[in-house]
Point group: C2
Chain length 401, copies 2
């Protein structure tokens, strides 16, 4: 019998949302003052729950269950996207905390640092799973203000602190709860998503180099406008990608920067951040080949050389069948017929944990499918139901052995 308390889940979530509160959401970038305070607050909650808490040299927060017996690893992330929602990451952390309290044994909790990528790509879970070396840390800096990761770690008091890595054989598996961030559950009237696979995300920085010049005195014929070169390339992507994408493929240009960015100067340099996502390796390869073909065609036709830099190429990650079955079973026991098997279009730390242990994910509905925006939300009832199913599933995994 679990000591599960949904009121504790909701009040912890609301307390956590005070760190970096912004509109009805939060602005809590990795290693901001608010983020560091949230990590310390969460570590104290873990201690209060009877776990041995610590923060390691990459900023991961851990709570380790002290006793003997089988162990499950649980968690998600604490930082937020900029000016974004209160549940993305936070929900999974509070569910994990509640699992530790409700089950009272064998539940370890981890907050993987910087899942939102302010400094790099999944540096917390990659550090834990042995996929992040010191040289990469040396080279990382904040995407928005350029602060080196080493400097941010030092400011958080984490310079020289060792980085914890997975202890082989300790865990039966890892379960991460998260808001869906899409509208599939809401659209079908279901309450629990049982994730089958996490899509791969392939990210690129595309840069064009032209000639910075005066916007009034340089004739159209003489110009080498780097911004226009990228606008034309994006037009080609917009035309071609729908023809070759898979049914669930998504692609996005998240940022365009023209330099120097003044109204009366022809951009001498322009860059953009582009990504596409799919769970099918053949589709990913096809899209990447097309991107290179379009850039090569642009370089043949245009006067501003364009280059593609690969920022990340994750692999699709399959979730563990047994753990999927336990989540499904727990959902059906709490509210029959409320669960749906579905892929995750978003990347999550579980994709790296899946490389070193059985891993699974549970989704709760997102109102209107909205996330990465401060209006992101989930009803209290759906949060409470999700937390209960999560705790039951983790308990079942501990008992399964």
């Amino acid at each position: 019998m679990l000591d599960f308390r949904s009121d504790r889940v909701l009040s912890d979530l609301r307390e956590l949302a005070r760190f970096g509160a912004y509109e009805t959401g939060v602005h809590r970038p990795t290693f901001s003052e608010e983020d560091i305070a949230a990590r310390r607050w969460f570590a104290a909650k873990l201690t209060e729950a009877g776990l041995e808490s610590s923060i390691d040299g990459i900023g991961n927060v851990y709570g380790l269950s002290p006793g003997p017996g089988p162990k499950m690893l649980t968690g998600s992330h604490l930082e937020s996207q900029n000016h974004a929602g209160w549940l993305d990451g936070a929900l999974g952390m509070v569910f994990a905390l509640e699992a530790a309290r409700a089950i009272g044994r064998g539940v370890d909790v981890a907050a993987w640092c910087d899942e939102e990528g302010h400094f790099g790509s999944f540096i917390g879970s990659r550090s834990y799973t042995g996929l992040l070396d010191e040289a990469e840390i040396d080279g990382l800096a904040n995407r928005y203000d350029g602060t080196p990761l080493r400097e941010a770690l030092a400011r958080a008091g984490l310079a020289g602190v060792p980085r914890r890595q997975v202890e082989p054989g300790r865990y039966r598996g890892f379960v991460e709860a998260h808001i869906e961030q899409g509208a599939t559950l809401e659209g079908s009237g279901l309450k629990i998503g049982v994730v089958t696979a996490i899509v791969a995300i392939w990210q690129f920085r595309i840069t064009a180099v032209g000639e910075q010049n005066h916007a009034g005195t340089t004739s159209m014929a003489r110009r080498r406008d780097a911004g226009l070169a990228l606008v034309r390339l994006l037009g080609e992507i917009d035309r071609r990608f729908p023809e070759i994408a898979g049914p669930a493929t998504v692609w996005t240009t998240g940022r365009i920067t023209l330099e120097p960015g003044a109204p009366s100067i022809i951009p001498g340099r322009a860059s953009l951040l582009f990504q596409f996502r799919d769970a099918d390796p053949a589709t990913l390869d096809r899209l990447e080949a097309e991107l290179h073909r379009l850039v090569a065609a642009a370089n043949e036709a245009g006067a501003c050389p364009i280059e593609i830099e690969i920022l990340g190429q994750s692999r699709p990650a399959l979730m563990d069948e047994t753990l999927q079955g336990l989540i499904d079973g727990a959902a059906n026991a709490v509210q029959p017929g409320c669960a749906l098997r579905m892929p995750s279009g978003a990347g999550h730390d579980a994709q790296y944990l899946a490389r070193v242990m059985p891993a699974a994910m549970l989704f709760v509905p997102s109102i209107g499918g909205i996330s990465h925006h401060w209006s992101e939300n989930t009803s209290d009832d759906d949060i409470a139901l999700g937390a209960r199913v999560y705790c039951e599933a983790v308990a079942a995994a501990l008992d399964a052995g």
Copy 2:
């Protein structure tokens, strides 16, 4: 007989370029520390030249000739574009200073503040010509960091200082020297541009509003991508404008901003700075109508409403025929056949001075036509020749009686 000294011109230009030195150019945005220091340095040079120097409440630096007799007004601007060249503005200021020294009577000098538009549109010359009111000043802020103009003025020690306006009847005219910033003089092997007219610049901020959402979990069909809406609009402008523009029309997108600007978030809002320039009013009207038509078509087809905000619509400005003749005559006296009559594709303070007195401009060649970039340059010989012609022309205007 003028006491003209080209070595003094070149050494003053080099000394001025130390304020905000960047690569071989300068970074001296309006009211930056370096800009304020440059204004004070220049005011001291005016005093040294025997003029009554002052800085008024909008940041204009003045040097007034104390004696009686006919007066000419000379000058340009002191601040630079970001990370740009050492001669844009500075050349005209040092030529004006040299005219005051070389002629020794009747030459007033003015540095018009913020010609480069860090805070607004020609606020210095518009203030002097009565086209800038206090309410507009209240609303202006730095384009790059948002600092209110009032705050910047206060930091420069100019809060509450009166703004000087043109004294009716004092001047025979205004002459501004400037680098060409294009390649027309260089291409024709000529040395002095006699400006016939300054083109109008029409500037717009175009904004699209979509729905900020997760780049992985939001299907392509459900998206309202504000960035993509603007990319498609720019594609249409790129297709249509060449068909309807005049032979000398130029158009430029200087900045594109996607919000929030993160790689994994679909932009919920996107904006860009767009401008076109021409000296023909009918062409300007035709281009503006087409821009509105393209936006209306985009709004009919797309899910992200696009709005156009007018940031500036200057008028084409004709230069004074008599002053043009004096510059041409001075050029031919110094080096026969070295001058060319030409329009200015760039906006200049002379276009506002032309509303209150006869105004003219003299161009010197730009190496490679490059400006608004730190590599902007003009040969020492061309600078010296230009300064001599400038001083002779101003002296001739004073003598013309």
